[in-house]
Each structure stands twice: as C-alpha cells, then as structure tokens.
C-alpha cells in the first residue's frame, strides 16, 4: 500500500515536472528571443552629405533608423555632428550617459545640457557637472560617396 502511494506521488511529480518544462522552456526561450538572437554587428546609416557640415560647427542631424514599414514614430533619431577637419567627424549620441535623457547643445557656452538631473558635458563630450561619469557616446563614422555614415550599433543597446 505504502509502495503504491510512493509510486503515485512520484508519478505526479515527474509528470508535472515534464509537463511544466515542456511548456515552460519554449515559453522562456521565445520571451527571450531578442536577447538570444542578439543584434547585428553593424547598422550603418546616412547622417548627411559631407559638404553640408561646416568645419568647426556642432549641429544636429536626423538619421533614419531604417525601420521603415515597422514603425514610423521612432523612424528618425537625432545625433550631433561635429566636423573637426575636412575628413574628421565626431558624431555624439544625444543620450546623456547617466540615464539616456536627450541632451541639448548650447552654442553660446559650447556645452551639452541634460534636462533631467543636471548633467553638463563640454564640447568634447567630457562630463563637467551632474551625475554622468562617462563622456558622451561617439558613433563610429565613415565616409561613403560623399555621405557621412554612422554605425548605430557602435553604441551599447540601451543608447
């Protein structure tokens, strides 16, 4: 009698575990598919025509995120382009390195201001005040056919 009871409990336990795992594992894998698949190494996007950027000036540029048909609201992304010399470009992300709030460039003081917690960055992206500790992120750039291109995936995923 006792033996049958042990068997019954064992059967319920094993059956329950197999059933839960058979459904649970695929469910978890599907939920985390974006993490498992990761992201492509590069995502090059056009930031503008090289000749449109004046040397020495920091201006904003709108980049198409290339999502197109999937979502229109987040289809464009603003970055800061600083043409230093003929060939040399620095493209800053608009995300504050503290919590990704959108920084604004003040041409007067040549500082980037973060609207959230008082972060300030110099023209070079070095943090000057507030919580941010690391400099503004810079996109990897390249020049193709007279266009300035940036690699969206050269920044960590949360930026």
């Amino acid at each position: 009698m006792e033996n049958r009871r042990t068997w019954a409990i064992g059967f319920l336990a094993v059956g329950g575990a197999v059933g839960s795992l058979a459904i649970g594992i695929p469910a978890i894998l599907a939920a985390f598919s974006a993490s498992i698949q990761g992201r492509q190494k590069h995502a090059w996007r056009r930031a503008g025509i090289v000749d449109d950027f004046k040397i020495g000036k920091i201006i904003t540029a709108d980049v198409s995120t290339g999502r197109g048909d999937w979502s229109t609201t987040l289809g464009r992304l603003t970055v800061f382009v600083w043409r230093q010399t003929d060939e040399q470009f620095v493209v800053f992300s608009r995300s504050c390195t503290d919590l990704s709030c959108p920084v604004t460039f003040d041409p007067g003081s040549e500082c980037f201001f973060c609207p959230c917690h008082g972060g300030i960055f110099t023209k070079n992206g070095t943090p000057l005040a507030g919580p941010p500790k690391r400099p503004l992120y810079r996109y990897t750039t390249r020049i193709r056919d007279g266009n300035l291109e940036i690699d969206l995936h050269s920044l960590p995923p949360a930026y």
Partner: protein
C-alpha cells in the same frame, strides 16, 4: 418562494460557509486607520475597472498608441474621466502603499506569526511600483519614450546580464514596437496576474493570522502561542473585540471611501495627466517622471557621479533586501509605535527625506538649459556703455544658460546679484579664463576677444549690484 430561492443559493454556492469564515468572525477592535489595506484593495479594484475600460480603446502599437490615448481623452464619452481616475487612483495607491508599509514598520506588524503576510506584501509593493512606472510609459508621449530609456538604463546596469536584459525589454536591437508590446503585456497581464495571486495569499494570511492588536502592543511577546492567547481573548471580549462585518468593515470602508472621494475630486477638478507630443527621438525636450517618482530623480541629481550611475540598480535592490530581511533582523519582543521610538524616527526621517527630495526635484535648480535672450536689468537702471555691450556678449556666450541674474532662485550657477559686489574685475576675468578645477564652468580662454572679455567682465561686475527679485 423568494426566501426559498435565497436559501437554495446560499447553500449551493457555499455562501454560508464564506460568511462565517470571512465576515461573521470575531476580531480584536481595529482603529479606523487600519483601513489602509482595504483602501488599497478598493483602489486596486478601481485600477482594474478603469484599466479594463481604457484597454477597450487603447492600441498598444507604436504607430497608434499616442493617437488612441488622445482619442480616449477627447472623443470617448467620459474617457477623460476614466483616464483621470486611473491616473489619480494610481497616485493614491503609491501614497497608500507607502503609508501601509511604513505603518507596519512602526508597529512591528511583520513580527511573528505574520512574517508570511509581510513577505508576500513585499513583492506586492514592488508590483505597485512597477505598475505606477509602466503606466505612464504606455501613453507613448515624449515623457514615455525617455521613461522607457531610463528603465533600459536601469536594466543595462545589472552586472553581467545587463545588455541581455536590455535586448529582452526592447524586444529587438532598439526601442520599437516590441518594446511597447512588452510594456503593455507586463502592465495589463503579467504583473497584475501575479499580483492577484499574491493579494489572495496576503488576504488569506490576514484572515487566519490577523493583524496587530491593541493587546499585543501592551506587552512584550516572546512566542507565537502567547500572541495567539492575547489575540483570542481580545477577539472574544465584549469591549475589546468586534465582529468583522459590519463593524470593522464600517471603519476600514470609511477610510477607503474618503481616499476614493479625494481621487474623484482630483479627477474632476484637475483631470487626467497632461499629454506631451508623440514619442520621438528627435525633438529637444525636457522629460520628467510622474510626481510620485520625483524624490528618486532628486536623489539621483544630488548623488556624486561616482555613485549615481549605480544608484538606479543598487537602491531598489537595497530596499528589497531591507524589507525581506526586516522580520528576521528585528527580533525585539516589543510591538506598537510607543515601544519602538527608533522606528518612529526612521519612518519620520524617511518621509521627510522623500518630501524634501520631491521639492528639490520640483524646483530642479540643478538643470541648466540654453538661454540666449538678454538678461533682464533692473527697471530704471542704465548700464555704463561697456557693461551694456557686455550684456549682449553675456547672452551670446550662453552665460545665462547657467547664471540667472537677479532671480534669487532657479539659477544653476551663481547668480551675480547674490555676490553683492564681492568680486573684483580681476577675479571675474580670471574665473572666466581659468575656472577652478571641479567647477562646472567651461573655460572661455581663446574663445572671446580681449574686447569681448572686458565688456563681459564689466557686466558681471555691475550685475553684482542688482537687486534680487522674489
């Protein structure tokens, strides 16, 4: 006939059993303010009802979410009321859950045999925090998108698996439709379902273990059996006990009614929260969180840069650990506020800190913003010519992005009017060219001509004599 049908229903649906177990039971008398739990239950009910109605129209797609919220507010009959009530009762829940938690900390409500009730309550607290955060992300306006990015930053800073969690929350390589879908799923399905299960367990434990009584507060309690003894005798006593229905419910229900009344007033007279422009990653904007998270934002602004980036991860973890360990660390036999002065101090200090940080965030004196208009000068004052030219340069070089002039508050950097003529021209000049290390001021060496510098110095010097506006 009617009586017979009623009898039949009471028996077949087991209502008599439920009535005796839940409602018609003797409990020790409870004060009116112990209705905070009932208030939270009632508010949760309002969230479910208003949330369900909102979900009838809301569209969890990045291309139409914002428009659907506008539609709910402007077109749906009483849509503004439902949205407003969902918003204000969420805010009321945030206040009430902090009150509920703090009250138990003051009393020692987590002490034996109620550790289980407490440990089930802790994830419920975090559940409410999550819902109050994810709710305003669904509006898909400018504040939502930056709220989402703050959330992603929090996840991204978790050691080792940070990037992995970010990709999970985004549902892809960047913020997009899957991000909103996930937030929606967690806000309306995953977290509420888990919370319902936990609320059921929480209430079950409240029924079988009771809540802290007057008698328990009057004497040190060393064992569960001693507690049981006190509880039972109070419940049975004519003057120290009462029947849960209707007497306890009358008091707790009154408190719930008052809080709900206040949320209704706020809904009707203030209305639903403001909608900003549709979520985008291009416009220049000043995002802010809902008022119930202002204190957190204020705290982040005050922390030094060496800690601030980790605070968003460490603070929730620290609060979680503190709450989970509390019943096991605090082993004193004393219960009740009067016997626990240290905990009264702790709660008062916490609440005062939260209020001060909230006010700090409301004023946001830590945020500088580009300002290129001319700084105001006192009415009737004529500046010397060089100072007047300096005023123009002052604005041109973005000085007043940080330095308000004569504004007594809301200035990120020092307001010259506050200096009352302390600085000589030489000192000002030196400061502009070589700001001391550690000061949030860029050097203007090499940027200004000598003539421009002289005029700016002249303006700063005379600005020290400006009167302060209130």
């Amino acid at each position: 006939m009617l009586r017979q049908s009623a009898q039949w229903a009471i028996d077949r649906f087991g209502i008599d059993n439920l009535y005796h177990c839940l409602l018609d039971r003797r409990v020790p008398k409870a004060p009116w303010y112990s209705g905070d739990g009932s208030t939270l239950m009632a508010l949760l009910g309002i969230q479910v009802i208003t949330g369900s109605v909102l979900a009838l129209t809301y569209s969890p797609s990045t291309d139409s979410a914002y428009q659907s919220v506008v539609y709910i507010t402007d077109q749906v009959f009483l849509g503004w009321f439902i949205r407003g009530l969902h918003y204000w009762s969420a805010g009321a829940m945030m206040i009430m859950i902090v009150f509920h938690l703090m009250r138990q900390i003051v009393l020692g409500g987590y002490k034996s045999p109620r550790e289980g009730t407490w440990l089930v309550g802790v994830p419920l607290f975090f559940g409410v925090l999550f819902l109050a955060y994810s709710g305003y992300l669904l509006r898909w306006d400018e504040r939502s998108i930056y709220g989402i990015r703050v959330m992603l930053q929090m996840l991204g800073r978790v050691p080792l698996i940070g990037d992995w969690l970010v990709l999970f929350a985004q549902g892809g390589p960047s913020v997009g439709p899957a991000t909103l879908a996930r937030l929606y799923a967690f806000h309306v399905l995953v977290i509420p379902l888990l919370m319902f299960a936990l609320v059921a367990i929480h209430l079950y434990l409240v029924v079988i273990k009771g809540t802290m009584t007057k008698g328990e507060r009057s004497t040190p309690i060393h064992s569960v059996s001693q507690q049981r003894e006190i509880y039972k005798s109070e419940a049975a006593s004519v003057d120290k006990g009462e029947t849960f229905f209707p007497w306890t419910m009358l008091k707790t229900g009154t408190m719930a009614g008052i809080v709900i009344g206040l949320t209704l007033l706020a809904t009707v007279f203030i209305g639903p929260s403001k909608l900003y422009s549709e979520a985008n990653l291009t416009e220049s904007t000043m995002p802010a969180e809902e008022w119930w998270y202002w204190w957190l934002s204020g705290l982040i602004a005050l922390l030094p840069a060496s800690i601030a980036p980790w605070a968003v991860v460490l603070l929730p973890v620290a609060i979680l650990m503190f709450l989970l360990l509390l019943p096991f660390v605090d082993r004193s036999p004393m219960r009740g506020a009067r016997n626990r002065p240290i905990w009264i101090l702790f709660v008062i200090a916490t609440v005062v800190t939260i209020l001060l940080l909230t006010d700090y965030r409301r004023r946001s004196p830590f945020t500088a913003w580009p300002e290129s208009s001319l700084p105001a000068i006192p009415v009737g004052m004529t500046l010397p010519p060089d100072a007047e030219r300096g005023r123009v340069q002052f604005a041109r070089y973005g000085c007043n992005s940080c330095h308000a002039v004569g504004k007594s508050n809301a200035s990120f950097a020092v307001d010259f009017a506050l200096l009352r003529g302390q600085l000589s021209r030489e000192k000002i000049r030196e400061y502009i060219l070589n700001p001391p290390a550690g000061v949030a001021m860029p050097s203007y060496a090499g940027r200004m001509t000598k003539e421009e510098l002289d005029t700016v110095v002249a303006f700063c010097h005379v600005a020290q004599t400006f009167p302060l506006e209130d």
